[in-house]
C-alpha cells in the first residue's frame, strides 16, 4: 500500500493506492485563493500547502480506511514544480516515512501524469505515445516501458493550457479561462480566422504557442471593438483550434515516426472538448486506439504519483533523509523496471 503526496503547484493532494487500485485520491484545490490574483502566486500556494497538507493526508488515510501503520511506502513529487510548494510536500513525506519507519519513493511529476494510465480499473500498458498537456507542461513522450520513456517534443515557450488561458484572458474571460474559452468556442466557427501553428514541420515534435497568442493579440487590437464583440465565439473557436491543431498533428506525427500505434492523453488540457474530439477522430482515422484517463486523474492529483511509485525504486532509511526538491527537472531516463 502506497501513500502519495503531490504539492508541485497549487493543489494539495494525497492518495492511497493498493495493487494499482486507488483507495482514496484527495485534491484540495486552491483555485479560489489564486483567482483573486488572476494567476498562481507561488508564495500563496506554498502557504496554503503548509496549512492543508496534514489534513489532506489524514483525509486520504481515513478515506482509504487505513492508518499510517498499514502503509508500506510513502511517495512524493520531488520535481519539477514551484520550489516553495514542492518542499512542503517533500518535508512532509520524508517526515511521515521517518517517523513511521517506511521507505520513500521520489517521483517526477510528468512521470506521474503518464502513470495515470496504469491505474485500475482500466490499466493501459506501454508502449504508447503519451501527450501530457496542462497549464504547466506540454510534452510528447514515447513510453516504452513502465520505467523507460523518451521525450520526443516539448513546448519551447507557453504550455498548451497556459496558451488557452492567456487567449481567454485576451478575450476578456475570467481566470482560469481555459474552460470558459472551450464553452464559448463551441458556438463558433473555427475557420473564421486562420491563426498560425508554431513549428509546423512534420519532423519537429516540439511545440510553440507564443506565435498564435501574439496573432490573437494583434487581431483583437486591430479588429475594433464592434467586430470583436460580434464574433467573439468565432475568434475563440479559431484560436482554440490553432492550439489543438498543433497538439493533434504532432501526436499523430509521433505515432508515425516511432511506429507506435497506441496513444494516451493526460494533463488538465485533456478536459478540452475540441482536443478530445479532434484527437479521437485522428486516431480513429488511423485505426489507433486512444486512451484518456478520467478527468480527476488527468489533472494534478496524488493518485498518479502513487501509480508511478509502483514502478520506481524506493529509498530506504537513512538515505532518504537528505532528499531535496528541484524546481526544474525533466523525465529521468531509466530501464524498464518490475511491477511492484
Amino acid at each position: 500500500m502506497i501513500l502519495a503526496i503531490e504539492t508541485s503547484c497549487d493543489d494539495t493532494c494525497a492518495a492511497v493506492l493498493e495493487d494499482g487500485k486507488l483507495l482514496s485520491n484527495v485534491v484540495s484545490s486552491q483555485d479560489e485563493f489564486h483567482a483573486r490574483y488572476g494567476g498562481v502566486v507561488p508564495e500563496v500556494a506554498s502557504r496554503q500547502h503548509l496549512r492543508l497538507v496534514n489534513s489532506v493526508v489524514a483525509e486520504a488515510l481515513s478515506g482509504a480506511s487505513v492508518d499510517l501503520g498499514r502503509i508500506k511506502l510513502v511517495a512524493v513529487t520531488t520535481s519539477p514544480g514551484l520550489i516553495g510548494a514542492l518542499l512542503v510536500g517533500v518535508a512532509t513525506a520524508k517526515s511521515l516515512a521517518y517517523a513511521s519507519g517506511k521507505e520513500l519513493v521520489a517521483v517526477n511529476h510528468l512521470e506521474g501524469h503518464i502513470a495515470a494510465n496504469y491505474l485500475e480499473p482500466d490499466p493501459f500498458a506501454p508502449p504508447f505515445i503519451c501527450l501530457v498537456a496542462s497549464g504547466g507542461h506540454t510534452s510528447l513522450v514515447h513510453v516504452t516501458g513502465h520505467r523507460s520513456h523518451q521525450v520526443l517534443g516539448r513546448t519551447l515557450d507557453d504550455a498548451a493550457g497556459e496558451a488557452l488561458d492567456k487567449g481567454a484572458r485576451l478575450l476578456g474571460l475570467s481566470y482560469p479561462g481555459g474552460a470558459e474559452l472551450d464553452r464559448l468556442a463551441a458556438d463558433g466557427d473555427s475557420s473564421f480566422i486562420s491563426f498560425p501553428v508554431g513549428l509546423d514541420r512534420p519532423d519537429n515534435l516540439d511545440f510553440s504557442f507564443s506565435g498564435v497568442k501574439t496573432a490573437l493579440y494583434y487581431y483583437l487590437r486591430d479588429a475594433g471593438a464592434e467586430q470583436v464583440k460580434r464574433s467573439r465565439a468565432h475568434i475563440a473557436a479559431s484560436y482554440q483550434s490553432a492550439v489543438v491543431n498543433a497538439l493533434v498533428k504532432k501526436t499523430m506525427a509521433a505515432t508515425r515516426t516511432r511506429g507506435c500505434r497506441r496513444v494516451c492523453l493526460s494533463g488538465g488540457v485533456s478536459a478540452n472538448s475540441e482536443l478530445r474530439r479532434r484527437l479521437a477522430a485522428a486516431c480513429e482515422g488511423q485505426g489507433i486506439p486512444l486512451r484518456i484517463p478520467p478527468p480527476d486523474l488527468c489533472t494534478d492529483n496524488a493518485g498518479m504519483i502513487a501509480s508511478a511509485a509502483r514502478f520506481l525504486p524506493s529509498l530506504s532509511f537513512p538515505a532518504y533523509l537528505s532528499l531535496g526538491a528541484t524546481a526544474s527537472g525533466g523525465l529521468p531516463d531509466g530501464g524498464d523496471g518490475n511491477h511492484r
Binding site: V41, N54, S95, H137, G268, A327
Partner: protein
Amino acid sequence: MPTLAIDTATETLSVALGEGNHILADGGMKAGRAHLELLLPEIELLLGRCSLRIRDVDHIVVGTGPGTFSGLRVGISTGRALAQALDIPISGSSSLQALALRMAPALAEGEDGLLPLIDARRGQVFTRLYRLGDGDIPEPASDIACLGPEHIGRLWATEVTGRLLAGGDGALAYHQRLDDVGGRLRLLAADDPRNIINASCHIRLTGPGGAEHHQGMDTALPVYIREPDADRTILLRKRLPWLT
C-alpha cells in the same frame, strides 16, 4: 519523555532535545538554503547522540519565525508531519522570543530591553521589544515589526526609557545601518554565539515556568508578518518556472 525542538527561521538550523527544562543535547549548522536536505539528518544525529529514536519523542516544538519563508516551511512542515505520524502534541514557539531568551544572559547593568533582530532580507529586519518577566523569561513589550534597521529608534523612542541590547543575524547583517536609539542601544559582539537562535530556547519557553504558549497544529504555522508579494510573482495557472 523528550521534547524535540526545531528552529529554521534563519540560515542556521537548530535542533534540540530536552525533558522538562533540562536540555539533553542540541545541534545545528549553517544551512544556507539547504534546510530541506539537512534538517532530518541533523535530527537523526541528535537522537543518536542521546541513544534515542524518533519514536521516543513525545512532544514537538517548532520555531514559527518570523524569518525566511522557505526555511520556516521546511522546519514547520517537518515538525507537523512528525507530530502527525507519531500522534504526539506539537507547539509553535516564537523564534524572536527564543532569540531574546538566548540573548538575555548578556544583559548588562542598566539594560532593561531586549531587541532580537532576525534578517528579513530586502534590507529589513523582523524585531520585537522584549522585557524580562518572571523566571527571566522575556515577555513581549511591543508588536512584531518588519522594518529597515535605520528606523528601529523611531519605533520605540517613546516607549523605551532604559538601555537596550540588540542581537541576532539581523544585527550582524545590518549593524552599520542600525539606529542606535539615541545612543541607548548596545549590540552583542559579532562573534558572540548568542546572536544565533538555539532550539533549546524553545524547550525552555514551552517547558515548566516558560512563556505563555499554546499547543496544536494551528499554533504550528509560520508567523509571516509580510504579505505575499503578488505583484512580482504572479504566474499564470500552473505555469512553472522550468518552461521559461
